[in-house]
């Protein structure tokens, strides 16, 4: 083996040992190319999900039923924009540029969470996004606070703190509907019927079919398997549904005394893959809207750049 290869193997070994011992990795540290690549993919996808995730909820800002609900929803959508920024910044520390990530999102090359390709048809859908979608996201994200890559872990700590408000406001919204008139309760149940399975699928394919899982576990990017996290979400949500007095749309759902967990019926993975591949109800609309917002914001970016240049010139003239 050539000397350079040996040195490379040493580096790889000491990286593996460091990470296995729960050591953290910071931007300028040496890291395997595949570790960098998988993090760029995961963090940028996560950022894209936050950004696209503003659309289904933003859809209801102008139609929120009260000023209180409107202020809450505005604050929540603003948080999602912030989460996108924290995550893009974390990804940039790995050497990818903001522009490259934005371009990949807008061209459709990059993926984002499929859950945001479902429409928000009624006000109760806003509740379901906060309660179920953000609830599922929290279960996914809490272990990421201990991720081996420092900037990602730190971004996740901030995000998890803010996400907890999202889940609670969603549950409160659902509670108001579930305890309201018969038609309000029916609206809540209808939204749950439509969001339950997509939320269950948010944890990704079953463990046997998960492409990136085992390497990401070894690198401490991922700490629990998709199915473990999914089960946690199911057990938690079943109890919350009881409190709401709503029914989970699954005739096979039952408590398994032997395992202490709730078993569910079969998941329609064909639907999952169809949405991932771009055939969900809103995939095209989401991308079109992102591109339109970007194009329509061009003059703002240009004006800010021109203004900054002008201010610099003025300062130089004053100094001269």
């Amino acid at each position: 083996m050539a000397l350079a290869d040996l040195a490379g193997k040493d580096r790889q070994n000491s990286f593996d040992e460091h990470v296995a011992a729960d050591g953290k990795v910071e931007p300028k540290d040496w890291m395997p190319a595949a570790y960098r690549k998988t993090l760029v993919r995961q963090i940028s996808q996560h950022a894209h999900s936050e950004v696209i995730g503003m659309q289904p909820e933003g859809n209801w800002i102008s139609r929120a039923p009260s000023l209180r609900r409107k202020a809450i929803l505005l604050a929540k959508v603003q948080d999602e924009a912030g989460h996108g920024l924290y995550l893009y910044s974390a990804a940039e520390t790995l050497g990818v540029t903001r522009h490259e990530m934005e371009a990949d999102l807008m061209s459709g090359k990059a993926k984002y969470s499929s859950i945001f390709n479902y429409p928000t048809l009624t006000w109760a859908d806003v509740g379901c996004i906060g309660w179920l979608v953000d609830g599922a996201a929290i279960i996914n994200q809490i272990p990421l606070c201990r991720c081996s890559y420092g900037p990602y872990a730190r971004a996740m700590v901030r995000i998890c703190k803010e996400e907890s408000f999202h889940q609670r406001q969603g549950f409160e919204l659902m509670m108001a509907l579930a305890k309201g008139t018969a038609s309000q309760k029916a609206m809540a149940q209808d939204a749950l019927n439509r969001w339950w399975w997509p939320a269950v699928m948010m944890f990704g394919p079953p463990d046997g079919d998960s492409v990136h899982s085992s390497q990401n576990m070894a690198w401490k990017i991922k700490r629990f398997s998709n199915d473990e996290l999914r089960q946690k979400f199911i057990d938690m949500t079943v109890k919350q549904c009881e409190a709401l007095g709503l029914d989970i749309p699954d005739p096979d759902l039952k408590f398994n005394a032997a395992t202490g967990h709730c078993d569910i019926g079969p998941i329609d993975w064909d639907e999952f893959w169809a949405v991932v591949k771009g055939h969900g109800p809103c995939n095209r609309q989401r991308l079109e809207q992102r591109n339109r917002a970007h194009d329509e914001g061009a003059w703002v970016r240009e004006a800010a750049t021109a203004f900054a240049a002008k201010e610099r010139d003025r300062q130089q003239q004053r100094a001269a």
């Binding site: 300028k28 924290y86 903001r98 522009h99 901030r158 061009a298 970016r301 750049t305 900054a308």
Partner: protein, 96 residues
């Protein structure tokens, strides 16, 4: 091509309350320092996290290199006599 591609990266430091030092909170792109400050306020202090903000262009920071870590920091490991716990003194003598 939009001009914002050339916006520099700024590092954001927040003083969470009077009496504490500024701590690194994150980073963002902005056309100039004023815009960086305004955006940092919106992104990092929405829940009363700050009483003061610093922004500095990332390129203005000089950082030590990871490969110099041993040379820079290991020598301190062998100088345990710099810590008060190194010294053995009688238990019954006060104010030490």
């Amino acid at each position: 091509m939009t001009a914002s591609q050339d916006w520099p990266l700024y590092e954001v430091f927040i003083r969470s309350r009077q009496g504490l030092s500024h701590v690194h909170a994150g980073s963002l792109h902005a056309a100039d320092a004023k815009m960086a400050l305004e955006n940092a306020r919106d992104v990092y202090t929405r829940r009363s996290e700050g009483t003061s903000i610093w922004v500095v262009e990332s390129s203005a920071i000089t950082a030590s290199a990871p490969q110099d870590k041993g040379e820079l920091f290991d020598p301190a490991d062998s100088k345990v006599y710099r810590h008060p716990t190194f010294y053995e003194v009688p238990d019954d003598v006060e104010c030490l």
